[in-house]
Amino acid sequence: MESKKVPKEFNKWIKEKWGTSDLPIGGVVPYHTAYAYKTGDWSAFKAIIDKSKCISCMNCYYFCPDAAILMDDELKADCDLEFCKGCGICAKHCSADAIEMRRLTR
């Protein structure tokens, strides 16, 4: 699965809590950084996908509000647990009944 990472420099930015003299002026953020904010812990429920059933209909991919569905090289869907908020839309609209919302305990 493709890893969703932010540039190393940004980790420094948030860890060191940059101040007035370091931050880019005007509040501009020069590249996307939200990958450093994991929304996967918003819900205990996660989309668990049975890849063997996936027919690549793309419903889950285009209905997911969070870009938390990743298609692999064979165009089979995977759920990105780091970001899945557990809404359950994908499970509801899966053409192949391949997705189950399951409570994951950590």
């Binding site: 994991k38 793309m58 285009y62 209905f63 908020k85 809404c87």
Partner: protein, 324 residues
């Protein structure tokens, strides 16, 4: 002539290889329709040749995607204020034109997308939008209508449908929610003689075809999207898409494209026009949502009938315009 590109499942598969425009890690609610809508719109735009730039009005999408220092936008993106997204985009477009002109470069085309919610478009931003459209700047304005000021806590807007309960049009003992219907925004924009579309994220291929058609047009275009909101319209997050699907199937929110008196029903709405038995009662749509729950009490039965009558009347008129 109105023509929409045909988008196949194969296209959808191909486009999943594009890098995300709206990335994971944004903080829209679980099951948020705006997230789904924005992803579909931006993927369709990204699939086109020219680079994509976005101006976003204040609202849920803007706030939840750019909580500093995090931003979920992997394209040039700008937010100015609530009521001025169209004017802001106009400034950016004309600035780039002028700078190209000075450098004697042939105008580099960009696809300018503008996002605004119903508050930012139906109400406070309509002047700026109408002005920008009159002047003819080249952009696609996408209004994602979730039927209230959701970001500030579900207050009624000019896009709130009749009888919907909001925090400023509550379901009271004497007044059952919002008194009047929403402004006919798509018709207002169509009256500017620009290509105007309606779409629902329940039908991604239809929505994305309209985005691509709008962006290819040499001038302003407008897309109104029905955007479900689990928090404000009050339903479980998992049925977001189902809700907007029923808005289309009940003809509460018909799908069409229009330009200069030509009206083209598309997708499920075209199928209903050809085969009216597909049309479902508007109650099926309303009953899923907490904002309409009060209408199912015996004292407001009349209101339900009134809503169904209005929807039927509008649908009939739309069918006539589309020459069915």
């Amino acid at each position: 002539m109105l023509e929409l590109p045909r988008i196949s499942v194969k296209d959808l598969q191909e486009w999943s290889k594009l890098s995300d425009v709206l990335t994971s890690g944004h903080r829209l609610c679980a099951g948020c329709g705006a997230g789904t809508m924005a992803r579909q719109v931006t993927i369709a735009a990204k699939a086109l040749e020219d680079p994509l730039m976005i101006v976003n009005a204040t609202g849920c999408l803007e706030v939840a995607s750019t909580i500093y220092p995090y931003t979920a936008w992997n394209v040039p993106w700008m937010h100015n204020a609530f009521e001025n997204a169209a004017a802001t985009a106009a400034g950016a477009i004309e600035a780039m034109n002028a700078m190209n002109r000075k450098k004697d470069e042939s105008a580099r085309k960009v696809n300018m997308l503008v996002f605004g919610g119903d508050g930012g478009t139906y109400d406070i931003g309509i002047q700026s939008l109408s002005g920008a459209v009159e002047r003819g700047h080249r952009f696609l304005y996408v209004c994602y209508n979730n039927g209230a000021y959701m970001n500030t806590g579900i207050q009624r807007s000019g896009g709130t449908p009749m009888a919907a309960a909001t925090t400023t049009s509550p379901a009271g003992k004497v007044i059952p929610g919002k008194i009047k219907w929403a402004k006919p925004l798509a018709e207002i924009m169509a009256a500017h003689e620009i290509p105007t579309y309606t779409a629902s994220p329940a039908y991604p291929r239809d929505l994305m075809a309209k985005v691509q058609s709008g962006l290819k047009h040499d001038g302003p275009t407008f897309l109104l999207v029905d955007s479900p909101c689990s928090l404000g319209q009050r339903f479980p997050p998992s049925i977001s898409i189902e809700t907007t699907e029923l808005a289309v199937k009940s003809c509460f929110f018909p799908l069409y494209a229009t330009s200069k008196d030509e009206w083209l029903l598309t997708g499920e709405s075209a199928r209903i026009a050809k085969n009216p038995v597909r049309k479902v009662p508007v109650e099926d749509y309303l009953k899923l949502q907490g904002r309409f729950r009060h209408l199912f009490k015996p004292e407001w039965k009349k209101k339900l009938v009134e809503i169904q009558d209005t929807i039927d009347d509008r649908w009939e008129r739309l069918l006539r315009k589309a020459e069915y």
